[in-house]
């Protein structure tokens, strides 16, 4: 593994939180990377998606969303029953990109230092020496993250949010791109530590794979019988290319109308009587970043409200908490978000209130 050791990096201000609307105008500030040519960007995306689709059958949507999260510099939470290909998706995504990948199998006895790294006394130099943990990679796959203790979870989550590791008072910067793909099993919850709200909020999107349909499952049985398809996957883009793609996404233009629409969505979740907890400002930021990535994937250099709508459900659903009564009447976070999306005006028909328009 290729460890990059950094000196103290004091970045206390969350730059995105401080100036949300400038995020679009300060492209590639973090990576210092030149954005990619649109055509090349499009080809690279196609290659990645094609690579994933050779492994995971019939889950193009999930693959696209995973790529979206990667390009939007977010983290992905895969939540589903065992055996539908969560880990496979994460691994495939990592494999298609020529970058460092590490995998952590979370267990109750895993310690924080196993994730972040530890300072070891070097007899030869008579000094403490930092040994990076598993988190020092471009793509970190955290399998069954809810099985680890809360302490270990939070160690990972700090890395996720700040892209750095602090051990013994020294901060170590993580490499870009950095993405955590965590999986979680919602069924077998015994002896687990479910992620609390605050930590779920760190993940940009949560998707569930779902069972494949009949044809896809049949084909899977045919092709994946003998060898693991993962072995056949080779890297199609380099880490540098991914960084350039991320820079491209950052340059996507967001108009004021779309920002207003995003804010209106967030406020609607907070004002909805069906919800106990609405979407946080951080989630709004991540929603817009995901929308930018979606727009870029669509081959556009500006965001449409449709892009926001497309990612709203995976980005917001795991952050909001239903009111107890609403949950009793069979509402789900997804259904509430869908109804809010159907209600919040885009602002196209500027003349008039949104209510009462429908007969």
């Amino acid at each position: 593994m290729d460890f990059h050791r950094r000196t103290t990096f004091d970045e206390t201000v969350d730059e995105a939180m401080a100036a949300p609307q400038q995020a679009a105008h300060v492209p590639a500030a973090r990576t210092g990377q030149e954005p990619m040519d649109p055509a090349e960007f499009s080809r690279a995306c196609d290659r990645i998606l094609a690579g994933i689709n050779t492994v995971i059958d019939g889950k193009a949507e999930a693959a696209k969303l995973a790529l979206t999260v990667l390009l939007a510099q977010g983290h992905l939470l895969l939540e589903d029953v065992p055996g539908v290909g969560k880990t496979m998706l994460a691994k495939t995504l990592a494999r298609t990109i020529d970058c460092t990948v590490s995998r952590i199998q979370f267990t109750p006895d895993l310690l924080p230092s196993d994730v972040t790294g530890v300072s070891v006394y070097n007899q030869a130099t008579r000094m403490f020496e930092f040994r990076p943990g598993a988190v020092f990679a471009n793509i970190v796959i955290g399998d069954e993250i809810n099985r680890a203790s809360a302490k270990t979870q939070s160690a990972l989550l700090e890395c996720m949010e700040e892209h750095q590791v602090t051990v013994d008072g020294t901060s170590y910067r993580l490499d870009e791109p950095f993405m955590v793909v965590a999986t979680q099993n919602p069924i077998e919850m015994e002896g687990t530590y479910p992620l609390p709200e605050a930590q779920r909020d760190r993940f940009m999107a949560r998707i569930s794979m779902g069972y494949p349909d009949r044809e896809a499952e049949l084909e899977m049985l045919e092709t994946h019988q003998s060898a693991s398809p993962l072995a056949a996957v080779s890297a199609v883009v380099t880490a540098a290319q991914v960084a350039a793609m991320i820079a491209t996404v950052q340059q996507v233009y967001v108009s004021r109308a779309v920002k207003e629409y995003t804010v209106a969505l967030g406020r609607a979740t907070r004002e909805s009587p069906l919800l106990r907890l609405g979407a946080s400002p951080r989630s709004m930021l991540q929603l817009l970043r995901a929308a930018k990535a979606t727009a870029a994937l669509e081959g556009r250099d500006f965001v449409l409200p449709d892009d926001v709508v497309a990612v709203a459900e995976p980005v917001l659903a795991h952050r909001i908490i239903l009111d107890r009564k609403a949950a009793g009447t069979g509402e789900t976070p997804q259904s509430v978000i869908r109804s809010i999306l159907a209600k919040v005006p885009v602002g196209e028909g500027a003349a008039g209130p949104p209510a009462g328009r429908r007969r």
Partner: protein
């Protein structure tokens, strides 16, 4: 008016007593559980509280509306039977309904209970067992109805509550109860029931000068609201609720509607030419049986004068040499708010063969005239005769006369279709004779000399000023007449109406003297009151000014052929009569441009008098005393009198109104289409003027077009989503069909719109693989072509009804208007603080008024834009 135990009422009473509490619980219970199971007990127990509450509401509404009839009928004696009828019928229907009988049976029961209660109230002696009508009852009913008919045709508004008219009112109200009950109950149209209540309110509104009055209106409105509330409570599923109960803007909507109705009312009233003229002037009576006009002396006079067509035509022939005044009745008591003739029925004497004038005429010479009158359609209790009648012959029916005023009144008949010959006798009057009559009046009833209390100061002052320096009574009278005929006063039928002193009474008089404009009522009453103030007995005579010759002649036995004259409602007139001892009552003419000034009242020494008044110049020469050989008062026919006072050249008002109405209706009908076309034109022009921003107006037009053809855009529709919906609907045909160009145009417009609204400003179509195929900004012409293409395709695919609606009643336009109207009332959707120009922190919620105002301004701006 006693109430007997009609079965309906009895049943209603016991029903309400026995079922009330149980039924109430039952009703409440049903509200929760959604209907009692149809067990036998439930069937027998009845339908709960609802029928009783509804019946009570109906009864309150109609009985309340009937309060307005006070003033149409005199006093309150008529009200108990009305109450009895209304409540009996209402409770009867409620009782039947609580038994869950079918609607037809309930209505039938209502009719039967109405018949029973009317019989019991009005025809008890002739009925069977007190409430069942017998054959004799039907005969009586006919007589009552005839009586009611005569009352309506013949009498003036505050009519005495005779049995006929009260029976009619009770019957109509009872029928209305059944009608309203049926509307609210089986037909489930509670809002429509307001028509029934309105029918009651219309009568006082048309007939009474002071209209319905607030108690009646309040009671009727309260009853109507109760009806609506009842149907809302008990039938929440019916059409009344609509979607207003779901949306929170109910109050706001009601406010907007109310304000609009109010504004419309005020606006229409200000814009319409005026209710005091035209085809149906204010306060005029409906005369469906053709031309009957009761000449109610004071109240209807103004309306008669203003009537556009001459109804109530009377023809008469006289040997007086010129057309005489026809006098119906006099007004002698000037007390009270509203003057009316005092009938003094007790002292009237029957028979018209020999009428004693009552005053001993001591003049040397008397003038006797004979007049033959044909009243035709003119309907009044009083007989128009030339003063002073000595005998009337040829009348049908029984008549009597008042010794004090010589007014002749029918006992059981009216003046309709009467032909009679009047012999009149009057002293021969000259200024000299009158000037000599300076004795104090003797033997005259007190009522002609009594000065009314609370005379306005202006009347007294004017009287004193005008008569200052006049010695004799005659000189005073002449001075008053000269003052009223001076150029300062103008004759106007409209001025009193417009300035609110149309009518009669002392307060009206003050206004008249201040405004110096009015018609005969005002002039005559002014002179009469001022004369009394100066000690001259006076009264106001009401009748007709001298008419126009018809050109034909009437031959009377012994007199030969006499010239015939005619008068109609437009000649209605009032004039003062002053009493001079030894000469009797002498008529004067203070009204300029009406009637003729009698010879004895034309004063050579008063040059400032009548001659300067327009329309009157022709009178003075003919009023020269020389040719007055016989009659007094000396009438001179003024053929042009009526025409001169009317509107001058004949204007075909009905035709103009009709044409105007048609034009207005056409304009109204075409307004939405014109407005929509104008909007489209403005948008396309805006697109052509600024090609860079062409997508905005083009997109707005596309949305409206789709809305017109049945695909209203939703608030949450992004351009892409809306275009997908439009292309997915059958409005634009199928993909790859003949409509492919239009579908392509939609896609192009969508892409342009997205780029214009959401794209990076200043960058033209350099995005990777843009959907618009690199068409950065279309020129305005292309935009217009695309819109035309889409429009044509929409039209071609729509059915004719949808096409018609899109053309003439475009829904998008109404949505737009509705939104513009609702804008001031809707909460601002976003409370994101706008970037403040002065960089100060703006409060999150600015105060409400400013918010509303800015919202309103925004609405106006939005209306103007595009």
């Amino acid at each position: 008016m006693t109430l007997t135990d009609t079965p309906a009422r009895g049943g209603g009473g016991t029903g309400s007593a026995g079922d009330g509490p149980d039924a109430g619980r039952d009703g409440a219970g049903r509200g929760e559980t959604g209907g009692t199971p149809g067990g036998p007990a439930g069937r027998i127990r009845g339908a709960g509280l609802e029928p009783w509450a509804m019946a009570l509401s109906v009864a309150v509404a109609l009985a309340g509306a009937a309060l307005g009839m006070n003033g149409v009928l005199r006093g309150w004696a008529w009200y108990p039977p009305v109450l009895t009828t209304v409540f009996t019928v209402a409770l009867a229907t409620a009782a039947l309904r609580s038994l869950r009988l079918p609607g037809v049976v309930v209505s039938l029961g209502g009719f039967l209970s109405l018949a029973a209660v009317l019989t019991s109230t009005f025809f008890r002696p002739s009925s069977i067992a007190g409430f069942i009508p017998s054959a004799e009852t039907l005969g009586q009913l006919q007589a009552y109805l005839r009586r009611a008919n005569e009352t309506i045709l013949g009498e003036s508004t505050p009519v005495a509550p005779n049995a006929g008219i009260v029976l009619l009112i009770c019957g109509v109200l009872g029928l209305l109860v059944v009608l309203v009950d049926t509307l609210c109950g089986p037909l489930a149209l509670p809002a429509t029931s307001g028509l029934g209540i309105l029918a009651v309110l219309v009568v006082p509104a048309l007939v009474k000068p002071q209209s319905v009055g607030w108690p009646a209106f309040t009671a009727a409105a309260a009853g109507y609201l109760m009806i609506l509330a009842c149907s809302h409570w008990f039938h929440p599923g019916t059409g009344l609720r609509g979607d207003t109960a779901r949306t929170p803007g109910q109050l706001r909507r009601a406010g907007v509607l109310g304000a609009m109705a109010l504004a419309l009312t005020l606006l229409v009233q200000a814009v319409v030419p005026g209710f005091d003229q035209g085809a149906f002037p204010q306060g005029s009576r409906l005369t469906p049986w053709g031309g009957a006009t009761g000449l109610n002396p004071m109240i209807s006079l103004g309306n008669s004068l203003r009537s556009p067509s001459g109804v109530g035509r009377i023809t008469y022939a006289s040997n007086a040499g010129s057309a005489p005044y026809l006098r119906s009745v006099t007004v002698d008591s000037f007390d009270g708010d509203s003057w009316s003739p005092d009938d003094r029925d007790a002292t009237r004497r029957p028979g018209t063969g020999a009428i004693d004038p009552g005053t001993d005429v001591t003049a040397d010479e008397q003038v006797r005239t004979v007049t033959a009158v044909n009243t035709g359609q003119f309907t009044s209790p009083y007989l128009p005769v030339p003063y002073a009648p000595a005998s009337v012959s040829g009348l049908t029916g029984r008549w009597n006369w008042d010794p004090a005023t010589l007014s002749i009144k029918g006992i059981d008949v009216n003046s309709r279709d009467q032909q009679y010959v009047v012999a009149s006798v009057a002293p021969k009057l000259t200024p000299a004779v009158l000037d000599r009559a300076t004795e104090q009046p003797r033997g005259l009833p007190d009522l002609f000399t009594r000065v009314p209390g609370n005379v306005p100061a202006i009347v007294r002052q004017t009287a004193d000023t005008v008569t200052a320096g006049a010695g004799t009574e005659y000189a005073k009278a002449m001075a008053i007449q000269a003052y009223l005929r001076s150029p300062a006063f103008t004759y106007s039928l409209q001025a009193p109406v417009q300035n609110g002193y149309d009518g009669n009474g002392l307060s009206v008089l003050a206004d008249f003297l201040a405004q110096k404009s009015g018609y005969c009522i005002h002039f005559s009453s002014a002179m009469a009151v001022m004369a009394r103030l100066e000690g001259i007995p006076s009264r106001i005579a009401v009748g007709y000014a001298p008419g126009r010759p018809t050109g034909s002649t009437v031959s009377l036995a012994g007199l030969g052929a006499l010239p015939e004259y005619e008068v109609d409602a437009r000649d209605a007139h009032a004039w003062p009569e002053l009493y001079f001892q030894g000469l009797g009552w002498v008529a004067f003419e203070p009204t300029p441009s009406r009637g003729v000034v009698p010879g004895y009242a034309t004063e050579a020494a008063a040059p400032s008098g009548a001659s300067t008044n327009e329309n009157n110049d022709g009178l003075v020469p003919s009023a020269d005393p020389k040719p007055t050989t016989s009659a007094a008062p000396l009438p001179v026919p003024v053929p042009a009198a009526a025409g001169g006072t009317a509107t001058g050249p004949e204007i075909p008002w009905p035709l103009l109104y009709g044409a105007g109405g048609v034009l207005l209706a056409a304009l109204l009908l075409a307004t939405p289409a014109l407005a929509r076309a104008g909007l489209r034109r403005r948008r396309l022009r805006a697109a052509a003027e600024d090609p860079a921003a062409a997508a905005g107006p083009a997109w707005a037009e596309l949305r409206d077009l789709a809305a017109d053809y049945g695909l209203p855009p939703r608030g949450s529709d992004s351009p892409r989503l809306f275009a997908a919906r439009l292309l997915g609907s059958p409005l634009l045909g199928v993909p790859d069909g003949v409509d492919a160009p239009a579908r392509g145009a939609v896609e192009t417009l969508t892409a342009e719109r997205e780029r214009q609204r959401y794209g990076r400003p200043g960058v033209e179509g350099q995005s990777p693989g843009a959907a618009g195929g690199g068409s950065g900004s279309a020129s305005g012409n292309e935009t217009a072509e695309r819109i035309a293409l889409i429009r044509g395709s929409l039209r071609a695919n729509a059915r004719w009804a949808a096409r018609l609606r899109a053309g003439w009643l475009p829904p998008s336009l109404f949505t737009r208007w509705r939104n513009a109207l609702a804008r001031p009332f809707t909460r601002p959707l976003r409370r994101v603080p706008r970037p403040a120009p002065d960089n100060r922190a703006t409060p999150q919620t600015p105060n409400g008024a400013a918010e509303t105002r800015s919202g309103f301004r925004g609405a106006v701006r939005r209306l103007r834009r595009n």
